[in-house]
């Protein structure tokens, strides 16, 4: 069932948490609200859940306005950041809570609880209290509790935040599988872009109470709409440049004495200041003596992280850049203090924003 | 080592606290038991204040206690060979006899109390040489004249069905309660040695309201919880003086008179100077003030005339004095504990 926000604004005193957002979550898709803390993503989720009411605008569910429908009548499942499991109830009582509160027939309660516990793999732990469960098990219990009411929409508020990395990655996959299996419309909130890419059909990047860009994950990564998205999603290098030449099929951008040629047209004027946005993996380090062009730089930090090598270099112009490359076994081509040149690997994959 | 020092210090300080004598015994403060409420005023204004003016170094602290609660503390102090926490106390006849029996009263040195010569000798004899007869009061019937239209004349009137549930009593651990118990016995063919008729009669008086002490009983009149009760003449007088419609009658065959003795307590650190208070309580000055409005304590000094407005509360004619009922307390006092226990088993709720 699709969720829609129409011109929704929410203020807390002087601060505007949600600033005139209109957005539609398509049915049966998993949409991630991605943004830094304080961007309003959790508030947006709470508006959908009905724990808060917007100051203006409407929330729609399946085309029906639910702005003022109390949360207990929305039939929306939510998994809280801290799981909010009822500590005085066993796993089974937690999972069956929603059904029991709706006075569902006992046989239905038993059957649905059973099914849901099976779905999340907690059948054997049904008689445990939450404090007797591990973090991952609590998370599954919280998910089961939300799913047991057969929600029209599932809301997940940073549900993996409390788990360690390995478990987190596993849970992301498991949860995604369950959601795909059930085909349930899901809104997922996180500040972790990796998590967003793992889970999402669509990503909406939020900043300062607005949705700044939304689309498929790779689209967000490859074609960030502005420097905030470029920076927040994936991280980028920002090289200040001046437009040196505007041609039919490309631009020449000058940084100091170095000129970068990018092979696409943009609506820019010669002499205009701009910023060239380059992903770390789109930069390449070359030995100082070899070839020509690029920026002269010194390696200031080397971080070998498993499959990748990450370098931090400082250019002669005083700029700090991040460079990433696939690490070959036993090879460490540059060490701290080495002189090198920095080149664009694929000029096609750069973005330029006017400033 | 350090623990030992700390532990030693703690015990030392606490030990010192326990061994050191209470300061009150040394500071020139005489502790005297008194009545509660306005009945305490004669003690305060006409006994303590003149005494303190005559002895600038000494103060007298009046402690209200109507149920003889101090006795246990005195007994405990004497058993532990400590000075008595109380120096003087007024006691009606029953507790007076009881305290003599317990050995808790100091014999009076008559040389130090010249005013004893002015006291009614019959009362002085009752003191048995312990303390002085300070005042006497009557136990009669107090009633709310607005709620009780038929003026009661006899103890029997308490049993009038019109007052059911509106009768106030105090338990027989108080003098008032004991006196009423005896009156109820005599009225129904019993006496001090045969109280059974009294128990029967009081049982048939239920439901009644039991106040913890006479002052509380007086408060029940104020709040109209009760309309009629056996009460001290002095308490009734105080209520009337407040403008309440409370009247006092001396019922047939006569009101019960109980003498109150002021006595020095065994173990007092002030036996010598306390005799001056005994002398002062017998003085014409004190006696006439205590007998005046609104207290109407019966004077024990032969030279003090009963003021005319006291007629409702104190017998003024010889005839009336003759009709006063006295109780054979020596019979009652030894079995007091059994009486209180019987009362509790019958009427405690």
């Amino acid at each position: 069932m699709n969720v829609e926000l129409r011109g929704v604004t929410k203020r807390f005193g002087e601060t505007t948490a949600i600033d005139d957002i209109s957005y539609a979550v398509p049915a049966k898709r998993l949409v991630t609200l991605l943004g830094p803390s304080g961007c309003g993503k959790t508030t947006l989720l709470r508006l959908v859940a009905g724990f808060a009411a917007p100051d203006t605008g409407d929330v729609l569910l399946g085309g029906e306005v639910i702005t003022h429908v109390p949360s207990n009548q929305r039939q929306i499942g939510m998994v809280f950041q801290n799981y909010a499991l009822f500590p005085h109830m066993t796993v089974e009582r937690n999972v069956s809570f929603g059904l029991r509160m709706r006075h569902a027939p006992a046989s239905l309660v038993a059957r649905r609880t059973e099914e849901t516990l099976d779905l999340v793999g907690l059948r054997g732990l049904r008689d445990r209290y939450p404090h007797q469960l591990s973090g991952g098990q609590q998370q599954r219990a919280a998910l089961a509790r939300a799913l047991a009411i057969q929600p029209r929409v599932l809301l997940l508020d940073e549900p993996f935040g409390a788990l360690d990395r390995k478990l987190r990655l596993q849970m992301q996959v498991d949860v995604k599988k369950i959601i795909r299996q059930l085909g349930i419309t899901t809104v997922f909130v996180t500040h972790d872009q990796e998590e967003a890419f793992t889970m999402s059909d669509l990503i909406a990047v939020m900043n300062a109470g607005r949705i700044v860009q939304s689309g498929a994950p790779m689209e967000i990564y490859d074609k960030p709409k502005d420097s905030f998205v470029a920076d927040f999603v994936g991280g980028s290098n920002f090289i200040p440049v001046e437009v040196a030449e505007v041609a039919q099929d490309g631009l020449n951008l000058r940084h100091g004495t170095v000129v970068f040629a990018v092979p696409w047209a943009a609506d820019m004027l010669v002499g205009q200041r701009a910023v060239l946005v380059v992903r770390p993996e789109n930069l390449r380090l070359v030995q100082a003596g070899q070839g020509s062009g690029g920026l002269a730089a010194t390696v200031t930090f080397v971080r070998p992280i498993g499959p990748l090598l990450e370098f931090e270099v400082e250019t002669a112009t005083g700029m700090r850049l991040k460079v990433a490359s696939v690490r070959a076994r036993d090879a460490l081509p540059f060490s701290l203090g080495d002189a090198a040149r920095v080149e664009l690997a694929d000029p096609q994959a750069c973005t330029v924003f006017a400033v | 080592m350090r623990q030992a020092v700390i532990l030693g210090l703690c015990f030392g300080v606490l030990g010192a606290m326990m061994v050191a004598p209470p300061l009150s015994g040394q500071s020139g403060e005489i502790v005297m038991i008194s009545y509660a409420g306005p009945s305490q005023e004669p003690h305060r204004f006409y006994l303590v204040e003149p005494f303190q003016q005559a002895h600038p170094g000494l103060t007298v602290r009046l402690v209200p206690d109507e149920a003889g609660e101090y006795v246990a503390r005195v007994q405990a102090a004497l058993a532990a060979s400590r000075p008595s926490p109380v120096d003087l106390a007024p006691n009606g006849e029953p507790p007076h006899l009881r305290l003599i029996g317990l050995g808790l009263l100091e014999r009076t040195n008559t040389d130090l109390v010249p005013n004893l010569k002015l006291a009614y000798q019959a009362f002085v004899e009752k003191s048995q040489g312990y303390g002085v007869p300070a005042t006497y009061s009557l136990i009669g019937i107090a009633y709310n004249s607005q709620k009780v239209t038929k003026v009661p004349t006899s103890w029997k009137d308490l049993w009038d069905p019109a007052y059911r549930g509106k009768v106030g009593l105090t338990s027989s651990s108080s003098n008032l309660g004991l006196g009423f118990l005896v009156a109820a016995a005599k009225m129904n063919g019993g006496d001090e040695a045969n109280l059974e008729p009294a128990w029967q009669a009081i049982r048939s008086l239920q439901p009644f309201v039991i106040a913890p002490n006479p002052t509380a009983l007086a408060q029940l009149f104020e709040r109209e919880e009760i309309v009629i009760a056996p009460l001290w003449s002095t308490d009734a007088a105080v209520l009337a003086s407040k403008g309440l419609p409370i009247k006092f009658v001396k019922p047939q065959p006569g009101a019960i008179a109980i003498v109150s003795f002021l006595s020095i307590i065994k173990g007092s650190q002030f036996t010598q100077i306390a005799h001056e208070l005994l002398n002062r309580v017998l003085s014409e000055e004190y006696q006439s003030k205590a007998a005046a409005k609104p207290y109407f304590f019966g004077p024990t000094n032969v030279k003090v005339a009963v003021p005319p407005e006291a007629a409702d509360y104190i017998p003024t004619t010889l005839n009336e004095i003759r009709r006063l009922q006295t109780v054979n307390w020596p019979v009652i006092v030894p079995v007091r504990a059994a009486i209180v226990e019987r009362w509790n088993r019958e009427f405690a709720r």
């Binding site: 109390p70 005085h88 | 002490n213």
Partner: protein, 288 residues
Amino acid sequence: MRSPRVGTWHQAELAAPAVVFLIIFLAIPLLLLFAFGLVDIRAARVVPGSWTLEHYARILGDPFYYRIFLRTFWMGLGATIFCLLFGYPVAYLFTRVGPAARQVLLVLILAPLLTNAVVRTFGWMIILGGQKGLINALLLRVGLIDEPVRILYTMSGVLIGLTQIQLPFMILPVIAALEGQDRSLQEAAAGLGATWAQTFFHVVVPLSMPGVLTGSALVFVISYTNFAVPALLGGGSFAVIPTFIFEQISALLQWNNGAVLSSLLLGTAMVMLWLFNRASARLLRWTR
């Protein structure tokens, strides 16, 4: 990091004064109290070598005292129930209002602890006492009763008094328990379809049970052993054990009876606390 052993030593040192204090002013007097029931006491003096079980046997063999103990128990239980009924909503309200209202509420909650006994007794007289008492005046005005009912010097009056002064001991632990509750639990319940009442009774109340149980234990024990309130509001001959002990000692100088009844009062209170703790432990299995 310090070894646990070092830590324990330091803790022992810190606790030493309190332990010594408790031994001198609590343990020893309690033992003496118990012992006083096992010897003959005449004129407040222990008769040497007079060990006897007679005093305990006399009281334990007398159904009269069982009745009074039972009454005392009902008094404690009644006060506990009323404190819970009146205190819980106040505690709940406290956790729902803003800081300014909290200040006011807190003062009101603590007020009974701050007023002295004389003022309080006077207040009770005015509120409970007779035809002119506030409660009677109100009930008459509303038309619930035709004639003034007696409240002063009845069990009802005593329970009203106990409830009033004991309320803070119920309210404060319940507030602590409610304040510690994660608000998202209530949202979770609402999200799962629970109504306000369902959330309250299935989530808020069960989670506040630790506070409720602490408060109940406190109120029960303080009420069960309370002397002042039954003495002031129960009137003469109001038969509960604490007033009875007082009468035995102060009016009758029956030190033996006083000691036996005091020991039994303390003993029964401790046994009830122990049973209560066991029951609580079952009820609170879900806590860590």
